[in-house]
Structures are given as C-alpha cells and as structure tokens.
C-alpha cells in the first residue's frame, strides 16, 4: 500500500490499529453474510426443492442452449457494432459537413437512448420481420456501435500528429492516411476498450428477457416463473455465477491487454476518454 496517496507506510502502532480494525471489519462482514444466509435459510430458500432444477437434464439443456444463444447474440452484436462504429467514426472525422453532422447526430442519438427502448421499439414495430433474436442484436448493435464510434475516433486522434503530417507529406490522400497510417496504429490502443465493450454487450443481452428473445436470462426466467419452482433467488444466483465468470474473465483480459500495452509504451484509449454517457452500461 506504499503507493497509496492517502497513507504512509504504517508504523508498528498503525499496523496494530489496522489489525484491530481488520478484525472488527471481518466480524461485521461475516455477520452481514451470515445474516443473509440465515434469512435465506429461514425463508426456506436453501432447500433441495429450490435447487433441484440444476439436476434436471431438460432444464440444464435449455440453460446451455440459452447460454449458447447469449454468446451468439453478443458475438454477432459486437462484430456488427465494430463495423457500425468504424463507419460512423469515419463519418464524424470527415472534413465534409454533410457527412460529419449526420454522423454526429446518429452517434449522439443512439448513445442517449436506453437500449431497452430501442429494443422494444424494434420488437413492437418490426417484430414480425426481425424476430426477437434480431431485434435484440440490432438494438445492441446500434447502441454499442455508437459508443465504439467514439472510442475509434478517440483512438485515431490519439495517434501522434506527426504520423498524419508525414503521411500527407509523402503524398497520400485523406482516405489513405486514415486507412494505411492512422487506423492500423489506433487499433492496438483501442483493443482494451473494445474488449471492455464486449462485457457491456454480454450484460445487455440479458435485456432480451423483455421481448422473449432466446438467451440465458430468458431461459432462466421460465424456470422461476414456473409455479412448481417459484425460486427467483436460486435461479438469480446461478445466473450471477455464470455471467460474472464470463465477464470477469473478459475484464481481466482487457486489463492484461492494457498493462501489456503500457509496458510497450503505447497510449491506451479508455471508454471514459470519449465523453459522457459511455462505458458504465
């Protein structure tokens, strides 16, 4: 903790004090967790009936299929979002007002509107054509594509100015400068931010439950709404374990990528660098 801005390296008395606080804190936290566990026990939530769904082959298959659909929806959405983001970031970086202004409007609009509202609109109006899965995927695409567009723009602008000037000096055109010089250098700086965005996409696939899209949370919902089970806590805790395992791994990957780039002395673009309304979905 010597790197903390708040504290000096503790001396013997401070260390003793910290140990006392630590003991008290640990007891309080253990008490809190114990109280929660006792409440669950008293409300008959930790009973075989509530958890028996985990031993039903049919339900497990449905959950695994849901997980597969969740991963598929997230993967398709992130790929489409990257394409969407690249197009609109290029538009926003354009020198032409007729291209730049609509791009800014699109990005600002989709970043300010809740994903759920977009998804419900797509489902209620185009549901017959799209189906639930694509309503979910498209809503995730336009929202995350707009966030990624801002990340891409920040990444391009983070490339040292000399690169751009040198590229123009040797006679490349605007498109070539962006495609051949700026974009390749920007990609690595944006990689951690893109992986972090994958976590947000994966979390937001759970919104599919609102329109009955095939995904993990929707599959899980049909268990706890079953009158025979009626166990939202047990099902919710299983969902927490699955989502946290996947998302925590992705977060660690993003952190690892970032630390590797910092070691190589490369700049790293953050979600927070792109202005308000992003990165905290």
């Amino acid at each position: 903790m010597s790197s903390s801005v708040l504290y000096d390296i503790p001396g013997p008395r401070a260390r003793l004090r910290h140990r006392v606080y630590g003991l008290v804190g640990a007891l309080l936290i253990a008490g809190l967790l114990g109280w929660v566990a006792w409440k669950l026990w008293a409300a008959e939530q930790i009973t075989p009936e509530n958890w028996s769904f985990l031993a039903e082959p049919d339900i497990l298959t449905a959950l695994l299929e849901g997980l597969g659909a969740t991963l598929a929806a997230a993967a398709i959405a992130i790929v489409l979002a990257v394409a969407f983001g690249a197009v609109f970031a290029t538009g926003k970086l354009s020198d032409h007002g007729w291209l730049r202004r609509p791009s800014i409007a699109v990005i600002e609009f989709f970043r300010a509107v809740p994903v759920l509202l977009l998804m419900l609109f797509m489902f209620l109006v185009f549901g017959n054509v799209l189906g639930t899965f694509w309503a979910l995927v498209l809503a995730l695409t336009v929202y995350n594509g707009s966030v990624l567009a801002e990340i891409f723009r920040a990444g391009i602008l983070a490339v040292p100015k000399g690169q751009r000037e040198a590229a123009f000096a040797i006679g490349l055109r605007k498109g070539q400068v962006l495609r051949l010089v700026q974009a390749p250098q920007a990609v690595s700086t944006m990689l951690p931010a893109i992986v972090s965005q994958c976590v947000i996409v994966l979390k937001d696939t759970a919104l599919g439950v609102a329109i009955g899209a095939p995904e993990l949370t929707d599959a899980a919902e049909s268990i706890y709404t079953d009158i025979f089970y009626n166990n939202p806590i047990a099902v919710g805790l299983v969902l927490v374990v699955v989502y946290v395992t996947i998302n925590y791994s992705l977060s660690r990957l993003a952190a690892w990528l970032e630390s590797r780039m910092r070691r190589q002395g490369k700049p790293v673009v953050h979600l927070e660098d792109t202005g308000e309304g992003s990165g905290f979905g």
């Binding site: 504290y7 606080y21 609109f121 979390k203 919710g236």
Partner: protein, 235 residues
C-alpha cells in the same frame, strides 16, 4: 391561401398528437425522474462507503470492497432486478414508501446496489489521479490524516471525479428503463401503452420518449460541465 390553410391544419394535428401523448409521457417521465433521483442518492452514498473501503489500509474491508465491485459490475442489471424485485418478496421483504409501491421501491434498490459499484470505481479512480507526492508533502509539513484528506487530496480528487461521475449518472438515467421489464410504469414502459392505444404512429411515440431521455442526459452532462468549470483549478 389554400396552402397556408393546409399548413395550419397540419400544425393543429401535431398539437393534438402531442396532447394525446402527453399524459403517457408525463406519467412515465415523472416516475423515471423519481427512480433516477432516489437511486442516485442511494448509489452515491453506498458507492462512497465502498470507495472508502476499497482505498482503506484495512485488508478485510479492502477485500470486501473489491469483491463487491467485481461481483456487481459484472452482473447484468436484469439479473440484479430478478434477485431484488422478484427475490425479496419471496423473503417477505416488501418495503413501501409514501407515493411508491413495492416494485418501485425494489427497483430503486436494485438500481442503487448496481450503480454503487460504478460510483465506487469513479471515486477510486479520482483519488488515484492525485499525485502521491501531494499527500507526502502535506504529511511532511505536519498535516494530520484528516487535514491531508480534507485540504489536499479531496479538492483535487473532486475535480477529477466529476466527469466519470456524470457518466455514471447518465448510465443510471438510461438504466431506470430496465424497471419497465418488471412492470414499473416509467417512461420506457409507456412505449407499448402508447402504441397499443394508437395515440400516434409508433415511430412518433418512440421519438417522443427518446427525446425525453435525451433531455435528461443533456441536463446531467450540462450540470456536470457547469460544476467542472466552477471547481477548475486556476493554473
């Protein structure tokens, strides 16, 4: 003359459309703002407590803060709603407040515990932007821990914390929409009601609600820009 007559009747039509949509929008956004304000206050309080734990030198508290953030930040908000809004009534926890029913109160709770993890991270990153040399210098001139925190670290951290905190609040404003999935009749919930009642073409209903959210988002980012300007260091 005929041209202007057409124009004014069109104008009348727009007005009557807005009039037809207004009750839905008013009810929806009133509830959205109530959810936003209550959750913001709770999340800021809980997030500050967690940030205090995460930067403390006491190991168990730090571990608890870190686990909380990793757990809640990586859980989908919908799953949080399942645990809180569907789960707590099973445990016979059914809180109500004056003017708010059980599901609204529970929605505030779910939004708060989720958002608190992001508040914690925003505050922690703010504290970490302060150069350790600042606090070392403060201690070197004999300031106590409280003085160092109050006079040196906090004023600098506060400045760094405003933009990420505004982002968290904007995300919270949009996240209140998830309550619609659990039957809370806030602004997003009103979309299907408005389309069912055919008060206006679906696209118009959608745009009207979208504009409402955009106004909230702009209000928060505008307020954060004003505050940021106020506390900007004179360098």
């Amino acid at each position: 003359m005929p041209h202007s007559a057409v124009r004014s009747s069109e104008k009348g039509q727009y007005l009557s459309t807005l009039q037809a949509m207004w009750p839905y929008l008013y009810d929806g956004f009133t509830l959205t703002l109530v959810l936003l304000l209550c959750s913001a206050v709770l999340a800021l309080a809980l997030g500050t407590l967690l940030a205090g734990m995460r930067v403390s030198p006491v190991v168990p508290l730090r571990a608890f803060g870190t686990s909380y953030v990793n757990l809640f930040r990586n859980t989908p908000l919908v799953v949080m709603f399942i645990l809180v809004v569907e789960g707590l009534p099973v445990l016979d926890v059914r809180p109500t407040l004056p003017g708010m029913d059980v599901f609204e109160v529970l929605a505030v709770l779910a939004l708060s515990v989720y958002t608190a993890s992001f508040v914690c991270e925003a505050l922690r990153s703010g504290i970490n932007t302060v150069d350790p040399g600042q606090a070392e210098a403060a201690r070197a001139v004999g300031m106590t821990f409280g003085q160092t925190l109050q006079l040196i670290v906090m004023p600098q951290a506060f400045r760094a914390v405003i933009p990420p905190l505004a982002s968290v609040l904007i995300a919270l404003a949009k996240n209140t929409s998830v309550a619609a999935v659990f039957g809370v009749t806030e602004a997003t919930f009103q979309l299907s009601r408005m389309i069912e009642a055919t008060v206006a073409p679906p696209l118009v209903c959608f745009l009207a609600i979208a504009v409402g959210y955009m106004l909230i988002v702009w209000a928060i980012s505008g307020a954060s820009a004003v505050v940021e300007k106020q506390v900007r260091a004179a360098r």
